[in-house]
């Protein structure tokens, strides 16, 4: 089959899914008994000129098919509507806050994947031992903790009991940093608790997948052959074992992007971290429909891109697909 056609097939699936999702977002406000105008444009907080603009560009007074066309025309132009809450174009707000979310989720994911791999590999190599069972139970327990609850506990501990880490925001508000290094430190300091929260809950899911797959891999003949060749234990585990376990684990991980994202939303909300996750919370709290719609489209795109990247990576790494 080859990598190229595999990737193209996946790309088509992604595009179709995006189309379905965006159509859903188009339909939902128009299926409610309420007039879509009031959901999307009529709000006392919006300046009249902009309101007229919105009605015109989205065709809110026209028949539904015209609105459909306008919707997509606007989508590709980057016009996602106007936020009631922030009095700014939705896209602008999203783009301002997206980098923070990427920072948070990117850092956390990198950490919990690495730790998860190490833990999973060692659990598998000591399958059934006390170490394995103990860490397994601990990690199964940790994966059952709700993100926001762990966050709340940390906030309590570090805002109330022992104030070491800051408990809200991405940077200390009101401070100007002359030295970029100080800014970096400040950011990291603010990232610490949210990252730890996400890592604690997610690490076990990943190590659990990996452990189970590794156990299967380690019972394969080529592992015994590798050991028979005189390779050191670490080489057998990581070079031969892990390499084979990574591929199916990645597939399972890809199905988890939704969960990681959900975790991001909860953690950002609890820590008042200014990313797109907490934005969703604010939008709902304030019934800011355009913002929530735009948010949903953005998050869907993020998930689709993440899935697509995972699939593409997989096809490159698995020689069975690469060479057909």
């Amino acid at each position: 089959m080859g990598t190229a056609s595999f990737i193209m097939k996946k790309a088509v699936v992604m595009l179709v899914t995006f189309y379905v999702i965006s159509t859903l977002i188009f339909l939902i406000p128009r299926l409610t008994p309420v007039d879509p105008k009031s959901l999307l444009a009529d709000n006392p907080r919006i300046p009249e000129s902009i309101r007229q603009d919105l009605i015109a560009s989205f065709g809110l007074n026209k028949p539904i098919l015209d609105q459909y066309a306008s919707f997509y025309a606007n989508l590709f132009r980057g016009n996602l509507g106007y936020s009631f809450l922030y009095r700014d174009p939705v896209l602008t707000i999203l783009l301002t806050r997206l980098p923070w979310t990427i920072l948070l989720l990117g850092t956390s994911t990198a950490i919990f994947i690495t730790l998860g791999i190490v833990i999973g590999v060692f659990q598998a190599s000591r399958y059934g031992s006390k170490f394995d069972v103990a860490t397994l139970v601990a990690s199964l327990a940790a994966s059952s903790f709700p993100f926001f609850w762990v966050g709340m506990i940390f906030i309590y501990l570090f805002a109330f009991v022992v104030p070491i880490f800051p408990t809200f925001g991405a940077t200390s508000s009101g401070l100007v940093f002359a030295d970029p290094l100080d800014l970096l430190k400040d950011i990291c300091w603010h990232l610490a608790l949210p990252v730890i929260t996400i890592v604690i809950v997610n690490i076990s899911r990943y190590s659990f997948y990996l452990r189970n797959i590794m156990v299967g891999v380690l019972s394969e003949d080529y592992i015994i052959t590798a050991k028979a060749k005189g390779l050191s234990n670490n080489k057998v585990l990581f070079k031969h074992g892990l390499r084979n376990a990574m591929l199916p684990t990645m597939t399972m991980m890809a199905m988890d992007f939704g969960f990681i994202l959900a975790g991001g939303i909860f953690v950002e909300t609890v820590f008042s971290y200014p990313g797109v996750g907490s934005l969703a919370y604010e939008a709902i709290l304030n019934a800011d429909y355009p913002l929530m719609n735009g948010e949903f489209i953005l998050l869907s795109v993020v998930i689709l891109v993440a899935n697509f990247t995972a699939d593409a990576l997989y096809s490159v790494l698995d020689p069975r697909i690469r060479k057909g």
């Binding site: 000591r126 394969e220 080529y222 052959t225 050991k227 028979a228 390779l231 234990n233 591929l247």
Partner: protein, 328 residues
């Protein structure tokens, strides 16, 4: 001195359902340049013998007694690091179902190069690659296929590649576990011919593990018959075939219809091998043996040398020997 001498080896698997005594006092001898066949049905412990000899047992299994003497040294007491010096370089292994012995995510050639470089740290990669190609040609695989992945090889080619890999460090002993089982009949013949050729060319000592007695007739100089974790008969191939002395061996040989000779009713033994978690105290073949007597049930017969080079563990070996009708 024999190249490999296994003395009263015992290995057990520790499972939640009980401890399985997979090998319970096995003794074998392999002379240099000879080929020893280890024959028995599935579950009798023969693969465990192979894994034990290279200390490749899974984490829930352990050697619980006995010695494995290799070239004068006892392998049982060696550490894992010390074994890594011996593995592949002096004893190597070809697996049952070579399909899975090759790692699917690495190129075939690279896996052979890895074996070579592990034991020849100062060798340049280019030289190892050259040697890999030579090895592949030696076993009859086109050397350009070294660039391919295992899933691009046919079953027979994979088996050859695995043999090439096993020979890559010039081992003294090659242990082949069911080398032809997963292959079609024609390929089987080819692989057998290959093994014979290599044995002659490289002066290789072989241990061939199989359930197929006829395989051993083609390659082996000595045969050991294994049943329920014990060796029941051991001797030169010709002796085993001409004068089998254990009822089990008798049954194995009788299970083959012969094209030549008179039409004979096939005789098989009723029943099943004993549960190795709780082996009986007397002879393990007792419930199924047509020659069984009371003394067989009370005390297990020892493996004894009854004629020169021919060992058997049965009280009634004389009877068996007499009653054996060799197909002409």
């Amino acid at each position: 001195m024999a190249l490999i001498e296994i003395k009263q080896l015992k290995t057990s698997y520790f499972t939640p359902e009980g401890t399985v005594k997979a090998i319970d006092g096995v003794s074998l001898k392999l002379e240099k340049g000879h080929a020893l066949g280890l024959v028995g049905e599935s579950g009798c412990g023969k693969t465990t013998v192979a894994l034990s000899s290279m200390k490749l047992l899974p984490s829930n299994a352990r050697i619980t007694g006995g010695d494995i003497m290799f070239d004068g040294e006892n392998l049982v007491t060696k550490t894992d690091e010390e074994m890594n010096q011996i593995r592949w370089k002096r004893i190597s292994l070809v697996f049952q179902g070579a399909m899975n012995a090759l790692n699917p995510v690495f190129k075939v050639g690279d896996q052979i190069v890895e074996a070579i470089m592990t034991h020849n740290r100062n060798m340049a990669k280019s030289e190892a690659t050259k040697r890999t190609r030579e090895l592949l040609e030696l076993v009859g695989v086109d050397s350009s296929r070294a660039q391919d992945y295992p899933h691009e090889f046919s079953g027979g080619m994979k088996q050859r590649a695995v043999i090439a890999m096993a020979l890559s460090c010039d081992p003294d002993v090659l242990v082949a576990d069911e080398p032809t089982t997963a292959l079609d009949v024609i390929t089987q013949g080819r692989i057998l011919a290959l093994i014979r050729e290599l044995q002659a060319k490289l002066e290789l000592s072989l241990i061939v593990i199989t359930h197929d007695l006829s395989l051993t007739a083609e390659i082996c100089s000595e045969i050991a018959i294994m049943y329920a974790a014990k060796i029941v008969e051991f001797g030169k191939t010709k002796d085993i075939y001409d004068e089998p002395m254990h009822p089990y061996t008798n049954a194995l040989l009788s299970a083959f219809p012969s094209i030549l000779g008179p039409i004979r009713k096939m005789e098989t033994l009723a029943g099943f091998p004993p549960d190795l978690r709780n082996p009986p105290s007397g002879c393990r073949l007792f419930p199924r043996c047509p020659y069984a007597e009371d003394r067989c049930k009370e005390k297990e017969p020892e493996l004894e040398e009854v004629t020169r080079g021919h060992f058997v563990a049965c009280y009634n070996w004389g009877q068996v020997k007499q009653l054996w009708k060799k197909p002409s």
